[in-house]
C-alpha cells in the first residue's frame, strides 16, 4: 500500500470496515482456538486415517472434520472469512489430492495442512497487509470487527490491537507466516520447518527477527515495555 491511496482507502474503508452484514448461513461456534490448540493431542490418528483414505477415499473425512475448523479460523484471522471459506476448502482439496505423499510416520497432520493453507494464503499477502494497515489507521478491523475489544480486554489498551496490526503489517510475509504459525497454531519450530518446506535454522532466524520487529514496534507505540526481558518461549 502506498501513501497516495491511503486517505482514499481510509475514507472508503469507513463504511466497509464498519460492522458488516452478517454473513449468509448459520454461524457455528468452533470454540476458542487457543484452548483447542493447547488441548490438542499429538496423536490423533491422522496418519492412519490418511493411510486408509488411499484405499477408501471417504476415510479422509476424519481428517477434514478434525482440522477444517482450525484451518478455516487460521485463514480467517489472516485474510478474512470470505477468502477463508474458499482457501480452507482448497486446502483440503489439495491435501486430499496429495495425501499419497503424506509421511505417515508423522501422526499429526496439522503442520502439513497449515503449510498448504499458508502457501495458498500467500497469494493474498498484499491484501493481508492492506487490511492490517487499514486496521492500524482506522481502529476498525475488516477481518474481525470485534477483535479490537478482544485485544483491548487482554492488553488493557484499545490501542494495542492497532499497534499490533501495524507491527504485523510491517513484517515480511515470510516472517509473518512463521510468527503466526508459532503464536496462533502453536506449531513448534521443526513443525513449522516441515509446514513451510524451509530449513529449521531459517525458521529460527525468521521467528527471532519477527518477534524482535514486533516488540520494537509495540514498544515504539507504547504498548510494550521495552525493558522487559525477552521471553524466548
Amino acid at each position: 500500500m502506498t501513501r497516495g491511496h491511503r486517505l482514499l482507502e481510509t475514507r472508503f474503508a469507513r463504511w466497509h470496515l464498519a460492522p458488516r452484514e452478517p454473513p449468509p448461513g448459520v454461524r457455528e461456534s468452533t470454540g476458542v482456538s487457543l484452548l483447542h490448540a493447547a488441548d490438542r493431542s499429538r496423536d490423533r490418528g491422522d496418519a492412519s486415517a490418511i493411510a486408509a483414505s488411499l484405499e477408501s477415499p471417504a476415510a479422509f473425512a476424519v481428517v477434514f472434520e478434525r482440522h477444517h475448523p482450525s484451518v478455516h479460523r487460521y485463514l480467517s484471522r489472516r485474510i478474512g472469512t470470505d477468502l477463508a471459506d474458499e482457501l480452507a476448502a482448497e486446502t483440503f482439496a489439495v491435501a486430499f489430492a496429495k495425501r499419497g505423499r503424506f509421511d505417515t510416520a508423522v501422526q499429526d497432520a496439522r503442520p502439513w495442512l497449515f503449510g498448504i493453507a499458508t502457501k495458498l494464503a500467500h497469494r493474498h499477502w498484499r491484501r493481508e497487509e492492506r487490511e492490517l494497515r487499514a486496521y492500524a489507521r482506522t481502529g476498525v478491523d475488516a477481518v474481525s470487527p470485534g477483535s479490537d475489544e478482544g485485544v483491548a480486554a487482554r492488553a488493557d489498551s484499545a490501542a494495542a490491537g492497532r499497534a499490533l496490526a501495524a507491527a504485523l503489517a510491517a513484517l515480511s510475509a515470510d516472517e509473518r507466516d512463521v510468527l503466526l504459525l508459532y503464536a496462533w497454531e502453536q506449531l513448534d519450530q521443526p513443525e513449522i520447518a516441515v509446514a513451510l518446506s524451509i530449513a529449521p535454522g531459517t525458521v529460527k532466524s525468521r521467528l527471532h527477527r519477527a518477534r524482535a520487529h514486533v516488540r520494537e514496534s509495540l514498544a515504539a507505540a507504547g504498548e510494550l515495555d521495552p525493558m522487559r526481558p525477552e521471553n524466548h518461549g
Binding site: 500500500m1 482514499l8 454473513p23 478455516h72 494497515r133 492488553a155 518461549g233
Partner: protein, 317 residues
C-alpha cells in the same frame, strides 16, 4: 504480557466456518467434486467486493483532468498554507467534557470490482457521513449513500452492466465506537493532543517522527503528509492547533502547489504531495484560503459541509 500474548489475542474471536461453508468445503475435496479450485461460486466476486477498500485503493489512480499546471513550488505551497493558517476556522476552542464535535462530510468512494461475468471495472459513489466525536475519544457516526453509482468511463459502466448491474452501494450504517486520536500509529488522549506543540517546526518534527515509526513503506515526507492530513480530518483540533498543523505541513519537503477541484467541482488551490503511486491534496478556496476539502487520486476525496459543537451525539448544530 509479552508480544506473543498480544499476538495470540489478536483477532482471537473470528467466527468459525459457517455450516454452509463447511458443507461446500466438504464437497470440494471429495472425489468427483469437479473443479476444486472454486468451491464457492461467486466467492471471487464477493471477495472482490469485500476487499473494495484495499482493491480500490490499489487499482485506481485515475489521471486528473484538473492539473492546472500552476507549477511545482514548495514555496508557493507553503505560502498557501500560511495564509490558510492565518484564516483558519472550525472548532474555536478545545472540546469540554460532555460536548461533541459534529461534522457532516461528503466523501466520494471508488471501488474496483473483478466482475464475475465481465472484466474488471471501477465504480464510484457518494457517501454522506455524520460524525460526533467527544473528548474522551468516543464517536458516533452514521453513513448513507446519495445518488446513483457513477463510473469513470463508459467502458466501466458497460462492464458493470454486462456483469448484471450488481448493487455495489453499501447499506446505511451507524455505530458508536471509541477510536481515540492518532498521530500516525500512536494513540493520544485528547489532553495529549492538545499538548502538541504550536510551534510549526516542533510539530513538524512530531509528524516526521510518527512517519519514521510507522515503517509503512512510504517515504518519510510522504508519510508525514499522510499523518498530518489524517490528524486534520479525524481529530477535533482547536483553531490554534489546526493552524499550527497547516504551518507544519508547509515544512514538509516536496509539497507542491497545484490547481485542484474538490469533489463538488469547486476550483481551488491545492497543496499536494505526489507520492510514489498517487497524489494527495488539501484544497483551499483561492479567495479566502478556507480549507475546502481533500482529494486522494482523482477518484476519492471529501468535503466537510457542516460542523459545530453540540451537546449530544444525536444533535446537529
Amino acid at each position: 504480557m509479552d508480544e506473543l500474548d498480544l499476538i495470540r489475542s489478536f483477532r482471537a474471536d473470528v467466527p468459525g466456518p459457517s455450516v454452509a461453508a463447511t458443507a461446500r468445503a466438504d464437497r470440494a475435496w471429495r472425489p468427483g467434486a469437479g473443479r476444486r479450485r472454486s468451491p464457492r461460486r461467486g466467492a471471487r466476486f464477493a471477495a472482490a467486493v469485500a476487499a473494495v477498500a484495499a482493491v480500490a485503493a490499489a487499482a485506481l489512480v485515475i489521471p486528473s483532468a484538473d492539473d492546472g499546471g500552476l507549477g511545482a513550488g514548495s514555496a508557493r505551497a507553503a505560502e498557501v498554507l500560511r495564509r490558510a493558517a492565518a484564516e483558519v476556522s472550525g472548532l474555536p476552542r478545545a472540546l469540554a467534557p460532555g460536548e461533541y464535535w459534529y461534522v457532516r462530510r461528503n466523501t466520494t468512494w471508488t471501488t474496483g470490482v473483478e466482475g464475475e461475468r465481465a472484466g474488471a471495472y471501477t465504480a464510484m459513489g457518494l457517501e454522506i457521513r455524520e460524525e460526533w466525536t467527544a473528548a474522551d475519544g468516543t464517536r458516533r457516526w452514521t453513513t448513507r449513500q446519495a445518488g446513483p453509482l457513477r463510473f469513470p468511463s463508459a467502458g466501466d459502466r458497460a462492464r458493470w452492466e454486462a456483469d448484471g448491474r450488481p448493487d455495489l452501494t453499501p447499506p446505511p450504517s451507524e455505530d458508536r465506537t471509541r477510536t481515540g486520536f492518532h498521530v500516525g500509529i500512536r494513540e493520544y488522549r485528547y489532553e495529549q493532543l492538545l499538548d502538541l506543540p504550536r510551534d510549526p517546526r516542533a510539530l513538524y518534527e512530531r509528524f516526521r517522527d510518527a512517519a519514521v515509526r510507522c515503517r509503512c513503506g512510504n517515504g518519510v515526507d510522504d508519510q508525514s503528509f499522510v499523518v498530518a492530513v489524517e490528524l486534520l480530518y479525524t481529530a477535533p483540533l482547536p483553531t490554534d492547533l489546526r493552524a499550527a498543523t497547516l504551518r507544519a505541513i508547509a515544512l514538509i519537503p516536496g509539497i507542491e502547489q497545484r490547481a485542484e477541484r474538490d469533489i463538488l467541482g469547486r476550483p481551488g488551490v491545492g497543496v499536494a504531495y505526489e507520492g510514489s503511486e498517487g497524489r494527495q491534496a488539501l484544497i483551499f478556496d483561492p479567495a479566502t484560503h478556507e480549507l475546502l476539502g481533500e482529494r486522494s487520486g482523482a477518484g476519492g476525496g471529501s468535503v466537510d459541509v457542516a460542523s459545530g459543537i453540540v451537546d449530544s451525539p444525536t444533535a446537529r448544530p
